[in-house]
């Protein structure tokens, strides 16, 4: 089998640039997606069904349509509408965050609903408002339960970030495609990118496990 490591070595600077951008996309989208997801999850759980409806529609739309299509619509539709031209960084982070938020919202909702009703009752019986009870009693416990599911979502997000290569965002997958196009050899670029994604997701997994252990001993 001829596997040309020399070609990968030639292309290493681009893989490095791409990897850094992939990390950037992933970290930014994980942070924004989680914050947004928490808010949407809270919105979904509002007792007033009419107020909760838009949040449910949001989750349905973003979970029910392909991320690839969302990326295209945001890149070619929404972003030019707001800033007058396309911008891969804004489009990429926006699409990944908005998509991830829908999943985080559901994880969050499941985490809260898995808690015993008695926790909320105990907090309320002590005179806490609904918001105080959520803030000090419910969310901290739900968050702990959410970590495995959130970790899974983060890993999916890192891999999904490769989809922004379709709008020519110069991240890891983009350079993998570009290298394939330059040398007309598929395995070197694709296995290299796969290997780098694997390392990124393993690091993410490692960090989450560490966090999980720390929270468990608290």
């Amino acid at each position: 089998m001829d596997f040309r490591f020399d070609l990968i070595a030639n292309y290493a600077p681009f893989f490095l640039k791409g990897t850094l951008l992939t990390i950037g996309f992933s970290v930014a989208s994980i942070i924004l997606g989680t914050i947004l997801g928490l808010l949407i999850g809270l919105g979904e759980m509002m007792r007033n069904k009419k107020l909760a409806a838009p949040f449910r529609v949001y989750v349905t739309l973003f979970r029910g349509t392909p991320l690839l299509v969302q990326i295209m619509i945001i890149h070619f539709g929404f972003v030019p509408l707001f800033i007058g031209e396309t911008n891969v960084y804004i489009s990429g982070i926006a699409a990944l965050s908005l998509n991830s938020a829908a999943y985080v919202a559901e994880i969050f909702r499941a985490g809260i609903q898995s808690l015993d009703r008695g926790q909320m009752e105990a907090a309320r019986s002590l005179g806490m408002t609904h918001v105080q009870a959520m803030q000090h009693v419910i969310i901290p416990q739900a968050f702990k339960r959410m970590i495995p599911a959130l970790g899974n979502e983060f890993i999916v997000l890192i891999k999904d970030s490769s989809l922004v290569s379709v709008i020519a965002a110069p991240e890891l997958m983009y350079w993998g495609n570009a290298m394939q196009g330059q040398y007309y050899r598929p395995w070197e670029p694709y296995l290299t990118t796969a290997f780098i994604y694997l390392i990124l997701t393993m690091v993410c997994d490692f960090l989450l496990r560490k966090l999980e252990r720390r929270l468990a001993t608290e």
Binding site: G118, E121, A122, V137
Partner: protein
């Protein structure tokens, strides 16, 4: 202190409380007994509106908590509650469990809250457990912490919802002991329980509930010694 007028509570089509009227005086210890499904727990939970009130009035210190405009959080500060399953906050230490509400609701400083929490732990005999997490406590210890947590808000009334039902028999005594002490200090208490001995010894008055009504109420020695109603007699013959 507490006045309940024509209280009704339904879950969907099922009417659990059918017209309850009762008054509870300051410093009075009222024990509520009755068969399961009689509505006694629901009645207790209506007293701090953990259950929405379907119709009727519940006055706590003259404020009608059935009125949706009333600030229920303010009233709950004066009404402590102890649950059958303790409902301690598992992510907080024993001390933090007790300090949380005074700090967040009453905006008491950390130092004051901590000092008070330690005093309450001493009172329930658990000062050495201040820094452990609830999961390492026995059931009886958990329930005593839960009582201390409720007391930290300096309530005027304490509601107990079957506080010993989830405990192993050898732990029932330590919890009842704390409750007895509280009664002797003059706390107004409403206790739903199956502990007839406690009702007899500590209660000022016993309510017997069945089928969503208060069937009979009297001083414990009279209710237990000379029940008037057939259903009371039938119930007591089974539990005594």
């Amino acid at each position: 202190m507490i006045r309940v007028e024509n209280l009704k509570k339904s879950f969907g089509d099922h009417e659990v409380l059918k017209d309850i009227t009762v008054s509870i005086a300051e410093k009075e210890v009222v024990v509520v007994i009755g068969p399961s499904g009689s509505g006694k727990s629901t009645f207790l939970r209506c007293l701090n509106r953990l259950e929405e009130i379907t119709s009727g009035h519940v006055y706590i210190n003259g404020m009608d908590i059935a009125d949706p405009k009333v600030n229920i959080n303010k009233i709950r500060e004066d009404v402590g509650m102890v649950f059958q399953l303790f409902n301690l906050f598992p992510h907080k230490s024993v001390l933090e469990n007790i300090m949380l509400a005074p700090m967040k609701v009453k905006k008491v400083s950390k130092e004051v809250a901590e000092e008070k929490a330690l005093r309450l732990l001493e009172k329930v005999g658990l000062k050495d457990k201040a820094n452990v997490y609830p999961e390492s406590l026995s059931g009886g210890q958990k329930q005593r912490v839960a009582i201390a947590r409720a007391l930290a808000m300096e309530p005027k009334v304490m509601l107990f919802d079957e506080p010993t039902s989830a405990l192993d028999p050898e732990m029932v005594g330590e919890v009842l002991e704390v409750m007895k002490e509280l009664a002797q200090e003059g706390m107004t208490m409403v206790v739903v329980t199956h502990e007839m001995g406690f009702a007899r010894e500590v209660g000022d008055r016993v309510l017997f509930m069945d089928g969503g009504y208060i069937v009979e109420e009297n001083k414990p020695e009279l209710l237990f010694g000379n029940p008037q109603h057939e259903r009371t007699k039938a119930f007591l013959s089974k539990v005594l």
